[in-house]
Symmetry: C2
Subunit: 357 residues, 2 copies
């Protein structure tokens, strides 16, 4: 753990190049309006000295940080149970990196952390925030909104209708087409000739779970006997939850011939219970999941038919949207902060057919 050595300043570069600080500054920041021979001299001096601008000094005057906070509420164990989180982060990181922005990660653990995060955001340390709002009743989105930091949400926030939103044009968020994906899945089951199609829901305090349930209902409305409430069993996105729900379902409706699980993990649990009960998949009961979590979906027995969403792209898009909405993004010349798309951007999903349905 060596100690840092003093780094060269603008001043030093200027001296070496025989110009003023202002000129060096101009060259370093894009070099408009500096004649070529001079600019070149400066560039050489920069290289020779290994000059790197002091970001603190720069921020002090520009009031920009080229940094974005990513806020993840993580009591949500689901976040850690599947690679969702990692993929999302990867997409965000790629996009931010491409635009020379830093990623400040804020993991929150509970109510006390909310205040901390709000304070940090309000403290003007970052230019914007990417927030994953996982719960319907989460106070965080509200706090963040109040902090007045440009924000893009990951996943439809559950509070889109309360007074706060819309006040200044509404929330911006990116989400998968959960409802449409669910419809596709259930329709596929119908096309397979199944009629007793059940749904194992996700945790219903998350909009994704609600939307998938809605999609299921959309299609089942047209299926004879499709509104049998016993076919919907509430679960929670986990394998254990999937097992529990599946057992319950078998109990209620032994004649079930298809299951649409809210995600791959709960499908995994369902598969296990189905096998234990002596049912064959897909012959006796067809199963479809959601997410296309590769390590899970490809490894189940039989391999899982599922609805794929492009998680990495979600992250990427969130970052892109945020950056676009920021004033004077470094690489977009003087473009005057496009009005960010209001409301949500919905990413498509695709059905991936494997063996389970």
């Amino acid at each position: 753990m060596t100690d840092a050595v003093p780094r060269p300043t603008l001043e030093a570069v200027a001296a070496r190049a025989g110009v003023s600080r202002a000129t060096v500054s101009r060259v370093v920041n894009g070099g408009d309006g500096v004649r070529e021979p001079l600019a070149e001299r400066v560039r050489r001096a920069v290289a020779e000295l290994g000059y790197v601008p002091n970001q603190a000094a720069r921020s002090l005057v520009t009031r920009r940080h080229d940094a974005v906070a990513v806020v993840i509420a993580e009591p949500e164990t689901r976040v850690f149970a599947d690679p969702f989180f990692a993929l999302q982060l990867r997409g965000i990181s790629k996009e931010l990196t491409a635009h020379d922005n830093q990623l400040v990660l804020l993991l929150t653990e509970g109510r006390d952390d909310h205040a901390r995060v709000a304070r940090y955001l309000a403290g003007g340390h970052v230019d914007g925030a990417l927030v994953f709002s996982l719960h319907l009743a989460d106070p965080l989105p509200g706090l963040i909104h109040d902090a007045g930091v440009p924000t893009v949400f990951g996943g439809r926030p559950g509070w889109s209708d309360d007074g706060r939103a819309g006040a200044d044009g509404g929330v911006v968020y990116v989400d998968s087409d959960n409802r449409g994906g669910a419809r596709t899945a259930v329709r596929h089951l119908v096309d397979l000739g199944r009629r007793r199609i059940a749904h194992l829901t996700g945790a219903l305090d998350q909009t994704s779970a609600v939307d998938r349930l809605d999609g299921y209902r959309d299609v089942m409305a047209d299926v004879p006997g499709g509104n049998d409430p016993r076919l919907v069993v509430e679960s929670d996105f986990t394998p254990a939850g999937g097992e529990r729900a599946m057992r319950e379902l078998l109990d209620r409706c032994p004649d079930v011939d298809a299951v649409f699980a809210a995600n791959d993990l709960s499908a995994l649990g369902a598969l296990r219970v189905l096998r234990a009960s002596g049912r064959r998949v897909p012959e006796d009961v067809a199963v479809i999941g959601f997410d296309d979590m590769l390590p899970v979906a490809e490894q189940t027995d039989p391999p899982l038919t599922t609805v794929r969403q492009d998680i990495e792209e979600m992250g990427r898009l969130m970052a892109r949207l945020l950056l676009r909405g920021l004033p004077g993004a470094r690489d977009r010349a003087a473009a005057p902060a496009d009005p960010p798309p209001t409301g949500g951007v919905i990413l498509p999903t695709t059905l991936i057919r494997r063996a389970s349905a």
Copy 2:
């Protein structure tokens, strides 16, 4: 996406409290040597104005950032296949948060990114770095070392013996007791009366895989016929790799009666092949994994006996070590940057007995 409003400065607080900027600064930074009535007035002014210190201005003079970079080389798909990454990050985040430090996440994708990371680190944007050095031949650790930033590595770096290290007292790293854990696992198998004990290795360009293999060999040296090279099959920490390796193993040594897999994921693959081959676990072949990745280990059939490592604690410890080595950590008074523990800190592992061995 509201625009930020101008925030109050020290000056403003000072005016309101009827004191000088210096006094406000003192109160804000711990408030030594300010008499109570005054201090209280200042605190009230701070609260009333909603004052938050401008970090850029502060960093400019203190040369501290209260921020730490976390560098993760992520071509390593493994990082994204299991929750390892997330848990590690959680531990780090908790510890950093507790000491009022920010976490800047740097995900790297390949060689081009190396330069970028090196530049960032050398640029003095953060006080230190936490680096996960996954590959034996990774150039990143060297680059980072050259950048002269205080660093703690996650996992024993593979280059501990090359010239660079040791030059200034050696690298600091945190790792699990991979070798010891492997020994415990294999010894357990021996105690169970097994003699034809095989090992499915991890990706051998990672020190963790090498160390686990060494631990296996330590114990097998004392087992009659234990040095049969056919008992060691190279694999890669993935379920698919585990399957492949297990098939190969069954081919070479149909008489195998126990398998120590380098991690839970490859154990999962092995389990599948074992079942397909008609062998019972643990009756015919006992299986042990490594990691105790709950979602995996508890869900296999049969549930997996495995070696647990406390991943979150690893992250926490890395952060603690780094912070401790930093000059003038905000909350450790004037303690003069403890000389950081040189070399590695090894965390213990425990054998978790379930049904597979």
